[in-house]
């Protein structure tokens, strides 16, 4: 907050009030205050992330602004200490499986929800909405209990199943508006020309739906890799994903060197940033939290 209030008064006098009166009235001080708050937020966010990065390459770092020396051997340590090769493999397997299966289940369902009006549609919609609205840890505990009863908890199968639960509704919610935008007359035309249902899907709908499917796939990928709570509840030794391994090592702080833990955190960050950069080529960022209205209004 310190920076925010400090920049306010100094800059408020800078712009000429006569040049664009409406603009100046609408809050030059306010605007600078806003930018100050945003800048303060980003400075701290950068501090949070950079402190992890710096720590991961430092020899020792206790009571100083910067570490005493730099080294890269913590990455090697982290790789072997936490068997990151295996963890990354599990993470990739879980992510790939969840993306493919949730698309296979979700896309046909969203087609029906976008095109048909049938009795009980509201209930079905509610069913798909609930897992997105209820926080994972609330339904995760009973679900993990069921998995324990079936002896699936702690196995890769359990992790795969529990991660599918929020993914499938998410695919449905993301893809449905994309299907609604495709003109139904295209399908009707294809059918009139004698295309069977299978071909209507593969030749007409699928190509038009590629942006929607890509968006859903990227979002699911990012969410699954970052999904902590559910994976944590279902994972056991050998079926940890990266984020759960990171949690475990932070939680057991003191057993390993802090730098080693931070090295793993940097690997995780790198993983996520790469996914994010790939993802942002296909998706508008605000879609990560909500489905965009801009798409519909364009």
């Amino acid at each position: 907050m310190a920076t925010a209030t400090a920049t306010g008064p100094t800059t408020a006098t800078a712009p000429a009030p006569g040049a664009r009166p409406r603009r100046a009235l609408s809050g030059t001080p306010g605007r600078w205050l806003v930018w100050g708050v945003v800048a303060f937020f980003f400075v701290n966010l950068a501090g949070v992330i950079l402190s992890v990065v710096v720590s991961s390459v430092s020899t020792t770092w206790f009571d100083s602004w910067f570490p005493d020396g730099f080294t890269s051997h913590w990455y090697g340590d982290a790789w072997s200490d936490f068997s990151l090769g295996h963890v990354l493999l599990v993470t990739a397997e879980v992510a790939a499986f969840v993306v493919v299966v949730s698309l296979l289940i979700g896309v046909p369902a969203s087609y029906v929800l976008a095109r048909r009006d049938f009795p009980g549609k509201k209930i079905v919609m509610l069913l798909f909405l609930l897992p997105v609205l209820i926080p994972p840890i609330t339904y995760g505990i009973p679900l993990a209990t069921v998995l324990y009863k079936l002896h699936l908890a702690g196995t890769l199968t359990g992790v795969l199943l529990i991660n599918l639960v929020p993914a499938v509704p998410f695919v449905v919610l993301t893809v449905t508006p994309f299907i609604e935008q495709i003109d139904p007359r295209l399908e009707a035309a294809a059918r009139m020309c004698g295309a069977p249902t299978r071909k209507v899907f593969s030749r007409v709908l699928a190509p038009l739906l590629v942006p929607g499917i890509l968006a859903a796939a990227v979002l699911i990928l990012v969410r699954t890799v970052g999904m902590f709570e559910l994976t944590f509840l279902a994972a056991g030794p050998g079926s940890d994903t990266l984020v759960v391994a990171l949690y475990n090592s932070v939680f057991a702080a003191g057993i390993r060197a802090q730098q080693s833990v931070d090295a793993m955190a940097v690997i995780y960050t790198g993983f996520m940033v790469v996914l994010l950069v790939i993802g942002l080529r296909f998706v508008n960022p605000s879609q990560l939290v909500t489905r965009v209205k801009e798409e519909a209004t364009k």
């Binding site: 945003v38 992330i49 069913l127 609330t138 505990i141 009973p142 940033v273 960022p285």
Partner: protein, 311 residues
Amino acid sequence: MTATVTAPTGASPARRDHQRPALRHRLAERGIDRTLVLLVPGVLFIVLLFVYPFLYGLQLSFQPQSGGGFLANYKAFFADPYQRNTIWLTLRLGLPAAVLNVVVSVPIAYAMRGAFRGKRTLTTLLVLPITLGTVLTADGLLNYLGPNGWFNRVLTGLHIVDQPVTLIHNYTGVFLSLIITGFPFAFLLTSSYLSGIDPSLDRAAATLGAPALQRFSKITLPLLMPGLAVTFCLSFVLAFSVFPSAQLVGNPSGSTHVISIAAYHAAFDQFDYSMGSAVAMIMAVVMLVIIGLVLAGRSRLYVGSTSGGKG
């Protein structure tokens, strides 16, 4: 569910019976035909992996492992002050965090309406904390806010404080972590709601001589309120289920012993699945009550077109 069960039977008898107007047609008129089969995997999946476990947990919570009547778990929870307080501790963290996130994001989103250079970069940067998630944020906060971290160094260096402030392993640490992950989320939602409000309404008021503050309070804010209610609900749900940060940057057995930790502890440390389910159900109920109140308040607000009269 009824729809999916009847769909296959509706498909076959049509050929056999020509006298009756085919059942298939009558069903199709009500929207039931073979396409509904596509819905079956999805619905089946949700029922098996979401509805069934939830109901299973519900009935399990009424079958206490230690006996003592079917409400014993709930009685035990509310009789023990340490357990009962988890609700209060969670609300004390979640409500202020959600309110602050929404309240701060409104002026910022308002100031950043419209297109400007670097908007996409800014949004991308804001998405970063959401993607990185609570675990990494917690690890970073431990470094950054710790007694020897950069934040305390700046504070002592500027002589704002003499001693390093304790910001981690307490309430503050968890609160800050909720802000870091929650604020970008609230901001993105708010600005997407704000972009749905037609700017010409604001301009119309301006031509009639309304000052900026009045335009905001009389036009934009009322139109934004329903969206803000939803934003608040989603932010609250995020903050309410706080688990990793409460464990890592908080004081999990003291001031941040939140309800999700209590539920996890009962189910997977004490292996009392019945009690764990009961706490999870209490968590769901508390959350639904708050959301219900907010949405009930929302329904009293203006809900309707946010675009101008002419397109």
